[in-house]
Symmetry: D2
Subunit: 333 residues, 4 copies
């Protein structure tokens, strides 16, 4: 039985807690949140220790799930590493690539599993798409199109702290692109606009983005993002290969189709946001981590994966500013 400490009892933390208690090889040992009431809430519901500090929670555990706010991630990773605990950390590791590199130095020699929460890799549809690409079913990959649109604009507070669209939102798609391509992207072009809320320009941010990635061998990947799609959380991955194409499509709560005098085949709006859309993916990602901890294997999504996607995001920022194709090595090395 793996004893888990959960740090952070917000929306995502609570969801992870429910997954942990259902797992047959783990138990929720302790929770911590700087907002004590939030921690008590979870502790009460699932009957576990409510720790007075992150350190105390970590001490109770074999493995730690970090679901606190982004600025605390790197410090907590280092604290866990020092304590010798396996680590599951929500994305991103940090908004600063320099901080991530420093953290990587601290992790040198750390022997326990560490997994970054790029949950979309575990979505059954996206995963089947990648399997079709890896198995040769669709031949050599030539182009990938990732569509990733949120159902509605987040709050100003959230956006201010987000690090900008590329580090907050597109970073998921950069990870998916790397996961699907089977090759590192080397060049990035990015552009965008503040079309949903023009005042985002005051934050130096955009809400509508288009990106192109290119690998060494010439494979191409397009990503489009929007902070608001009124028909639901739009999450599609399309892979064109020499022998076929696959598209991992959107999900609805059920498959009722409506036919009337004005239209035919109408379905429900898509599942409205990531907690619902990726519920299965979150659970499968955590299960995969628990298996790695149980068998002491390296997780599929590593610290380096977190770092690489952040480097692409920084490259995208540079491209956006300079209106040119940016070689990721300018940033990453």
């Amino acid at each position: 039985m793996i004893n888990i400490a959960l740090l952070g009892c917000g929306r995502i933390g609570k969801m992870h807690a429910a997954t942990i208690v259902r797992a047959s090889n783990a138990r929720l040992a302790a929770v911590y949140d700087p907002v004590t009431a939030a921690a008590q809430d979870v502790g009460h519901q699932f009957g576990c220790v409510v720790a007075a500090s992150a350190e105390e929670a970590i001490a109770h555990s074999d493995a730690v799930l970090i679901a606190t706010s982004t600025p605390t991630h790197a410090d907590l990773i280092e604290a866990c590493a020092r304590a010798g605990k396996a680590i599951f950390c929500e994305k991103p590791i940090d908004l600063s690539l320099a901080r991530v590199k420093a953290c990587r130095e601290v992790l040198k020699g750390f022997g326990k599993p560490i997994q970054i929460g790029f949950n979309r890799r575990y979505d059954p549809g996206h995963r089947a798409a990648r399997e079709a690409a890896r198995s040769g079913e669709i031949g050599e990959i030539r182009q990938i199109i990732i569509t990733s649109r949120d159902p509605g604009l987040a709050s100003r507070e959230y956006l201010k702290a987000s690090g900008g669209i590329f580090k907050d939102m597109t970073i998921h798609d950069f990870d998916l692109a790397r996961f699907m391509l089977g090759e590192e992207p080397v060049e990035v072009f990015a552009t965008g606009s503040a079309l949903i809320d023009p005042t985002l320009a005051e934050l130096g941010d955009i809400d509508s983005a288009m990106v192109i990635l290119r690998t060494e061998s010439g494979k191409l990947c397009h990503i489009n993002n929007s902070r608001a799609a009124n028909y639901g959380h739009d999450q599609r991955v399309e892979i064109l290969g020499s022998e076929g194409m696959v598209i991992s499509g959107n999900r609805r709560a059920h498959n009722l189709e409506r036919f009337g005098s004005g239209s035919t085949g109408s379905g429900e709006p898509f599942l409205s946001f990531f907690i619902e859309r990726y519920a299965e993916a979150y659970a499968l990602g955590l299960e995969s981590f628990l298996e790695c901890v149980a068998s002491d294997r390296t997780p599929e999504v590593t610290f380096e994966d977190g770092e690489k996607s952040l480097a692409i995001a920084e490259s995208a920022n540079l491209s956006l500013a300079n209106h040119r194709f940016v070689n990721i090595r300018e940033i990453a090395d």
Copy 2:
């Protein structure tokens, strides 16, 4: 070049005229319609003889296309046969099975091609469904579901003269069922209601029907009909076999899908009626007839096919009246 006489210049006659003039192996030689203006209209548009009588039109031709009103079909078939002309006759041959049998006697020894206008057999989707059934792709056929619904109730005049839903509307589905099953149905159960227009009961007719057919070997076929479906002309054929299922679906004018806050994936209403829905099928059916005439082959849809579907329709009427499974042989022999 096959010279065609067209008898009947109504909606269906005009459509056939346009198909004939596009054919590379046929020409529209003469037209006739009891309503002279209708014949002149077609004659003028396509530059052909406007005959003063059906006989005169027949005399100008190698083959005759009969698209007049139902009560004239059998007489005109006999006139064409006596004149030794190939015959394409719109369905049904007649509303009376006795009249059809008498006509069949007259045709004994007639050596030219005669085709009945069961156009749905030529619909590319329905045809591909049958090909999947015949080729063994879906294994042994077990069940067929035919959905056939008109977009809106026809006029009282039309319905009065129609011979009732089974002879007017379901007869197409009886023919499709025979075409798809690869075996003759031997038993029929039919029921129905006047739900769209309850006053149809005054005509002894119904507007909503459900039928089950069963073949000697036990294969089952369900047909459902409605005289009014507000989302368009609903025409589906589903075949369940031991190795799979195929469904020939509905058609839209184009493939635009709409996604909004209330629904996703909405398409256009289905093509609204048989002229649009089966435009390709009408053309392919006539092309097939022209090939048979050119090469003196027996058409795919024979006079006997017309007779057999009428016998099933009469059996369905008997079933509806008597609330029991009717053996078609009671009627047909």
Copy 3:
């Protein structure tokens, strides 16, 4: 907190156990199964009393979930009623309508909630279909088409004890038909064949069935069943109304579509059987029961619903034997 006794720890019992432990207003108090090992298994996993008899388990509870074999259902319902416990009983109540009527007599004056496990009513898609019918969105209901096909033939043992296709399989569809129609069916026509396994005839059973139901006001409902559909568990409900149509469709594990030189738009096979296909429905049905127990309300699916569907199944057997439309009142009263 509602204390639940679970009787029967087979496949369905285990699934219910997992739903109970996730519920916030219930706990699994005791389990019983004539196969002691099965009960111990569940008791161990969820930490509850493993009772030595059904009576002992019932004594530990506020409500009882009966998931034992069909022949024990009516006796256990009566035992629970005598003990004054709320009852959730898997379908069917019994294979004999006479036994069900006798059980109903015993229940006279019983004041606690009793719910029959017709889970399909709780499927989100089917439920949305019915909501569209009830809300007036599709106008007056005219026709319903229910397609219900299992992925593969059950074992001979299972089939021998099943009571025949109408009482075992179609009974779910009879309940759905009643749920959707908003009116009682009064007439039944049923036919069928042993096409998948001709030796089923030895058991007096069939594996492919077609049924038509008709209500007093003339609404029509068609049901088709097959014991084997190689593409998965095929579960569709279509409702045609005066103002539109809705179709509750099949479900796949994910939405990957494949496009290649031979085909486009290929998805996964449908979820293979009822435990997966109706996982959500089972959970929602039990939740609904728990709410009824908590608030002492009458459940949505009553004992009478179980009795009425059984009466339709018996009528279908009579129709199959006599080749005629059977008035359900011949059987039910």
Copy 4:
């Protein structure tokens, strides 16, 4: 009756000829092709004059349809203008923007309709997409995704003469983008690779391309092209607006869906190439031109539209070479 001269009797010329003869307000007066046999073929089939020169054909006409090879387009446009004939010219006007500008000078003061053959604007699905955008149905346009992939690589001969992917293939998508956006793109980024046939690099060409366009107000448009998609001609347009999204999808010859043990919902490969895929669009585009000629109105797709898309294509070439966002005004003015 508008007398049409058809210049060029290759594949596209023949298709136009068949559309002209079906039109009620036009007749095919004369045809010319440098390959005399091709012209005779068409002349024989449709019974029209086979001219000995383009000039002779032009002289016989009220309007001229130019479907010859690209290098002859601008000269023939000028010849028609001098002769005072209405002009329908296949795309592109020329591969050189300088030549197109010179031609525009010649056309100054020319008063007859001149239409460029950007047929995709007339595709019913694409047109409905644009209508949804223009009508306000989907609110303010934010992003457009155009997917345009050929079913298979063209011959080396064709590619050598094509002017490169952006002027030959993407030019259609540049026109569609302008048509859909309702605003001129001002910046272009383009990249690509020779992934299908690496030896294309010898021609300085690519076979896989990705482009991003941005308008003054910040609207974004992505185009992806591939010279080979083994599942058919992939032609999709997606428009995301503030109030919804529309997608104009691909087309199949029929709507048969197949369900088997390995997959469900499989449809036919998409219509294999532009003649089939855009058959309706070609006919509707020509009909629109004929109406403009008949009523002396300005066509929807003007000479300037041809010039502007060519300017975008040249900008894309510059972007590809320089790895940067290119302002189209650098090229266009």
